[in-house]
Amino acid sequence: MESQCDNSNPNKEIDSGGYFGFTERYGNYPGGQAEFMRVPYGNFMPFVIPESCELEDEALLFMSDVLPTAYWSVENSGMKPGDTVTVLGCGPVGLMAQKFAWMKGAKRVIAIDNLPYRLNHAKKMNNVEIYNFDEYDDTGAYIKEITEGGADVVIDCVGMDGKKSAIEAIEQKLKLQGGTLSAIQIALKAVRKFGTIQLTGVYGSMYNMFPLGNIFERNVTLKMGQAPVIHYMPMLFDKITKGEFDPTEIITHKVPMDMASDAYKVFNDHADDVIKVILKP
């Protein structure tokens, strides 16, 4: 499985596969926001788009990460038809995870964020129930209440970049804390006893006050990791070409690569109702 490849990451301190454009920690491979890119393992890595395919780039581009990551998240969570699924985060991966949960036969899909424009996008794109976590004192407890005991599966598509508490912000500056546990704190209450929390949003480094006991005492399963994206590309290509879903629904910005500096700022600041930015070299 490529995300845990033993050979592609020359950094021996890190026991994880190499990633494009993801610094020395993950192999120091120059990335793909460029006019040209060197791709190693040329007999394994590329997904070849058949000549007969007439779709635009935009319909296929997200096979590179967003779609396999979202699809794998639903699969890896063990979600079954008839389950209630709560997805934390309405960014690109969260939005697609919501869609894939419906496609797999979820009975109910609940989406959580604190950006109204992203919640509205989720409602429009996926017909999910939406809740703004800034409007509840204890969002996890609220989800548990409205799902009568909790969701079967909670998929965290936020990770360490969620809304930090004041203490976490200080700890992170002092490098005592990798990021925030706020998404996990919602997840552990929103999930039912014997349910599963799937962590897809990235967690790097270490975490203080990790609520291990609360997860243990309710027999909750915690799963996580980097998706093996290449394995999912053929199946997703098939679904896209059959029109089972439209990946372009997450695109809000398409700009020339020359404008990347502005595009990063907009994306980082959640300005201009941004969800997904495409750059054209």
Partner: protein, 80 residues
């Protein structure tokens, strides 16, 4: 070639960098036609994941094969 580079925290510059070349016999070079910014790229942008000046970001590209190493059989020049 032109590329999106990180120079330091919150300092993105599109600039000329050295063209990539085939290094291994099974490498390919792809001419990128579309590429996307990922939320995880923001860890590099914000400086949480340290890099070095002129490092080229990005892991969501697609394009057309420009060059192939001698051991590559899966694709050839101009394969999409």
């Amino acid at each position: 070639m032109k590329a999106v580079t990180i120079q330091g925290a919150k300092d993105i510059q599109v600039k000329q960098v050295v063209d990539p070349t085939l290094e291994q016999k099974d490498d390919i070079i792809v001419r990128i036609t579309s590429t996307a910014i990922c939320g995880s790229d923001l860890h590099i942008y914000q400086g949480a994941l340290p890099s070095h000046p002129d490092y080229v970001i990005g892991h969501e590209p697609m394009g057309i094969v420009e060059e192939v190493g001698p051991e590559v059989t899966k694709v050839k020049k101009e394969t999409e």
